[in-house]
């Protein structure tokens, strides 16, 4: 009886490998693809994942060569600092997108958290920070509950939350900013402080990404996040409590947005009701550019780091160039995003056609 099979595209481990590209003998129902297209498919798949890294390297090289001010520690640290808060938001967005969903409310939640933290700052740093984070987590969890229990699409739920939270932020503050009290100096330190020369927001973002990476790769919860995005119904039938995973994911997104909001409030010295406007789109752009697919189930935290850095450095190059008006920057950003996504889409189709 014939038991030969084809090996898949992952690294071979333990099991006896069949020679790559060899067809199953006497196949009645599956003829293996010949060598060349399969190699191309694997290259395409890798390029799609690593493409962002390549782009990042190219862009950095270009920047270093053209602008002497680029490759300096102050500039680079600046870039990191400016993008660290977006990075936190993008991390949360990554997890949501991995489950096949989307979170349009992050910008508004960020503002709410900043206002709550500033509002509670009279009671000291701990209370203020916890309050802000709790607000974000709760709003995120509410998103998750509406999505799973009321079975409304994530796009709509988070859209509504975006509108409602922004409204609440504007309404509660009378459209004024809320000053951060001196009693909560810690918050100011979060936004403006440095440790060994590195801005605190950067450290926070780095820490968050590290934790996020470990969680996604090495915890059951992380595996369930991927499962939910891969095929939620199958995951349910396999016994996973998909709803709980989804609620947790949206809560985490809210929590991270809140984190960014608190840090931003610290940096600005006040919580502002208009903070975070448009950040959801920037976060989505960073996640997509990094290589994570909107359809869910594929991608990861590493890709998002690359995406955030890539977009941040391009913005930095625009500034260094000096002559590009903010308007043209907007145009270029949009064109770049489109270009990247088209290339990714082609690569992904090539990869799956022969895989």
């Amino acid at each position: 009886m014939d038991h030969s099979t084809r090996t898949g595209s992952g690294p071979a481990l333990a099991a006896p490998p069949a020679p790559a590209g060899s067809p199953a003998p006497g196949a009645g129902g599956g003829v293996a693809a010949p060598r060349a297209p399969r190699l191309a498919a694997r290259a395409a798949s890798m390029l799609q994942r690593q493409g962002a890294v390549v782009a990042l390297v190219v862009v950095c090289a270009f920047g270093a060569l053209r602008y002497p001010a680029f490759a300096t520690p102050e500039n680079l640290l600046n870039v990191l600092r400016q993008n660290s808060m977006l990075g936190l938001v993008a991390l949360g967005m990554t997890m949501v997108i991995l489950t096949g969903g989307i979170d349009l409310s992050v910008g508004s939640v960020l503002a709410v958290a900043g206002i709550v933290a500033a509002g509670l700052s009279g009671y000291g740093t701990a209370v203020a920070v916890l309050g802000g984070l709790a607000a974000g987590a709760l709003l995120g969890a509410l998103n998750g509950v509406l999505i799973t229990k009321a079975r409304i699409q994530p796009f709509i739920v988070t859209l509504a939350m975006m509108i409602a939270a922004r409204g609440a932020a504007l309404g509660a503050t009378g459209e004024n900013s809320v000053h951060v009290d001196r009693a909560a100096k810690g918050i100011l330190w979060l936004g403006r402080g440095r440790v060994a020369g590195i801005p605190v927001p950067v450290l926070l973002a780095a820490l968050a990404f590290a934790v996020g990476w470990v969680v996604l790769r090495y915890t059951r919860f992380g595996r369930y996040v991927y499962a939910a995005g891969d095929h939620a119904d199958a995951a349910r039938l396999l016994g996973l409590k998909v709803d709980r995973v989804l609620i947790a994911t949206y809560a985490i997104s809210g929590l991270l947005a809140a984190c960014a909001g608190v840090v931003l409030a610290g940096r600005l010295g006040s919580g502002q009701p208009v903070a975070g406007t448009g950040w959801e789109l920037d976060a989505i752009a960073a996640v997509v550019v990094g290589g994570t697919l909107l359809s869910g189930g594929q991608g990861g935290v590493g890709s998002t780091v690359i995406g955030v850095l890539l977009l941040g450095i391009i913005f930095n190059l625009f500034n260094l160039e000096g002559t590009i008006t903010p308007w043209w920057q907007g145009v270029l950003r949009g064109v770049f995003l489109l270009g990247v996504v088209v290339v990714q889409s082609r690569l992904q189709r090539r990869a799956s056609a022969h895989g």
């Binding site: 099979t5 898949g8 009645g28 129902g29 790769r217 090495y218 059951r220 595996r223 039938l237 895989g355």
Partner: protein, 525 residues
């Protein structure tokens, strides 16, 4: 005359699962009406019945996907009440469904251990996961790489992984729902080996299939359901196939003399009629490697072959649904280079896909709109759709095909499978096609509607339409076709005509590549 052998008596000693008096209702209709079912340790127990008989409902209750409205279930003598699939899985009752319910972007190992990943210091232990998976696969005799992405494996291998997962979950009862519907013959053999091994280990298996050969090859007993009721449980060794069919259909043995399909009474092949369609050396990637066939006016050409043999690809290449790499198509002597379905439609070819839900119906649109979708260009005058004419056509075809629905404005997704298929057929018939390509026209349809559709196809051929009929149901091919072309691996391997058409010769051709007594096309005058 001959009555089926007496039903099997209870044998208490090694019953692992007992279900008694199971009742399940849906919106007032009774899906299961006091059904009993017992399963013994180490047996392979077939569950058969036509669509709508209640098989999948019973299985879903067994595995916790549905809750029962009445009756009792005992597992190993203890009463159980599964509220979710997780409950059933925890108790060792596991289902492997027809559609692969696994995660295609994750590896084999991840899929096997999903939900119970081995951990070290709270974190997932990848090394152990791979090692344990490798051991498991080896024990089951499967040569699959644990690190392979599931989606990259063949359907057969994915199914094996699903079964391996069930085994690793400690399945005491394994339910296999149509396990071979996507497998090639060689892969079926692998599955049988696996089943026998599990049997030897004491696992009880419930096997759902409509393929009698398999049932008789691997199962010990069979339970027959009809219209939600238990007809009986028998040992397969003492039940003739014809008797089994009779039990399933509720017919007496002599009623089946005429044949089991609606094609009974098909006219002889239209000899000497001009070829309506001539396809030569069709090629497309790996799937089509040189298929040629021709269809004459008034004949039904059956196309047989296993999954992956290129039947659907042939049809789609002719219809222009997929671009072809090589070969030619002539309709009525004129060349046709169809790059989109529109080109083929203009040449009066129609195509009914095998995937009714995915490629057939537009679910939110009404019966009327679905029926006239392809005909819209002809129903349009000065940019506006002619409603009166549309109504006329819809009424005419609804009557002719006996489409049952509350009104033509009902959403098509609310109709039964059989009625949906009729609407799809009507969509093409109202275009007055010359050639009708049908891909599995009666799949997933209850037996009454099946016969109606088969009779309709027969009638259409009688009026001069050429029909190319792809089917996996051998009875359909045997009784309906004037000629049968058999494909394998994207190529022709046989053409059968007249008295040579039989289930055996078709199976032989599919398996061995040449029918026992096929007449090679080249020798034909």
């Amino acid at each position: 005359m001959t009555s089926p052998p007496p039903a099997d008596r209870h044998d208490e000693s090694d019953v692992i699962l007992r279900m008694e008096g199971i009742v399940k209702r849906f919106a007032g209709a009774v899906a299961l009406d006091h059904v009993d079912f017992t399963l013994r340790r180490g047996e392979v127990h077939a569950l058969v019945g036509e669509n709508g008989a209640g098989k999948s409902t019973l299985i879903k209750i067994m595995t916790g996907a549905y809750t029962r409205d009445g009756g009792q279930v005992w597992l190993e003598g203890e009463p159980v009440d599964f509220r979710t699939p997780a409950d059933a899985q925890a108790a060792g009752v596991i289902a492997v469904h027809q559609e692969i319910h696994l995660l295609s972007f994750r590896t084999v190992a991840e899929n096997v251990w999903l939900g119970r990943e081995p951990r070290r210091w709270g974190l997932v232990d990848w090394g152990r996961m791979h090692a344990d998976t490798a051991t498991l696969l080896q024990r089951l005799g499967l040569h699959i790489d644990p690190a392979a992405t599931l989606g990259a494996l063949s359907t057969a291998q994915q199914q094996m992984v699903a079964i391996a997962r069930g085994v690793s979950l400690g399945a005491r009862v394994l339910v296999l729902d149509e396990p071979t519907s996507s497998l090639a013959e060689r892969e079926v053999a692998i599955l049988y080996d696996l089943i026998r091994q599990l049997q030897a280990e004491g696992t009880a298996i419930v096997y759902i299939s409509h393929r009698f050969d398999e049932l008789y090859a691997v199962c010990d007993r069979v339970t027959v359901l009809r219209d939600g009721r238990l007809v009986g449980t028998h040992r397969l060794a003492s039940l003739e196939r014809l008797d089994l069919v009779c039990l399933m259909l509720g017919k007496a043995r002599d009623e089946l003399r005429q044949g089991t399909t609606g094609f009974a009474g098909h006219q002889a092949e239209a000899e000497g009629a001009a070829p309506l369609l001539r396809a030569e050396d069709l090629r497309r990637g790996q799937k089509l490697r040189g298929v040629s066939l021709d269809v004459r006016k008034g004949e039904i050409l059956g196309v047989a072959g296993l999954l992956g043999s290129g039947r659907t690809e042939t049809a789609r290449a002719i219809f222009g649904a997929d671009p072809r790499d090589g070969g030619s198509v002539h309709v009525d002597g004129k060349p046709l280079d169809a790059r989109t379905p529109d080109d083929a439609i203009r040449a009066r070819i129609a195509f009914v896909s095998e995937d009714r839900k995915g490629e057939g119906i537009i679910p939110e649109l009404s019966v009327r709109e679905n029926l006239t979708l392809a005909a819209l260009p002809t129903l349009t005058r000065a940019g506006i759709v002619d409603r009166a004419r549309q109504r006329e056509i819809v009424d005419q075809f609804m009557r002719r095909l006996g489409i049952k629905c509350t009104s033509a404005d009902q959403k098509i997704r609310e109709l039964s499978g059989g009625n949906q298929q009729k609407v799809l057929l009507a969509r093409w018939l109202c275009m007055n096609p010359a050639l009708l390509i049908l891909d599995e026209p009666t799949r997933g349809i209850d037996i009454g509607a099946k016969a109606e559709i088969q009779a309709l196809i027969n009638e259409l051929a009688g009026t001069g339409l050429g029909v190319l009929m792809i089917s996996s149901e051998l009875e359909e091919l045997v009784e309906g076709s004037s000629r049968v072309v058999v494909l394998r691996d994207g190529q022709n391997v046989a053409e059968l005509r007249g008295g040579d058409i039989s289930q055996q010769s078709i199976i032989h051709a599919m398996a061995e590549g040449s029918a026992a007594s096929a007449v090679p096309a080249a020798l034909e005058a």
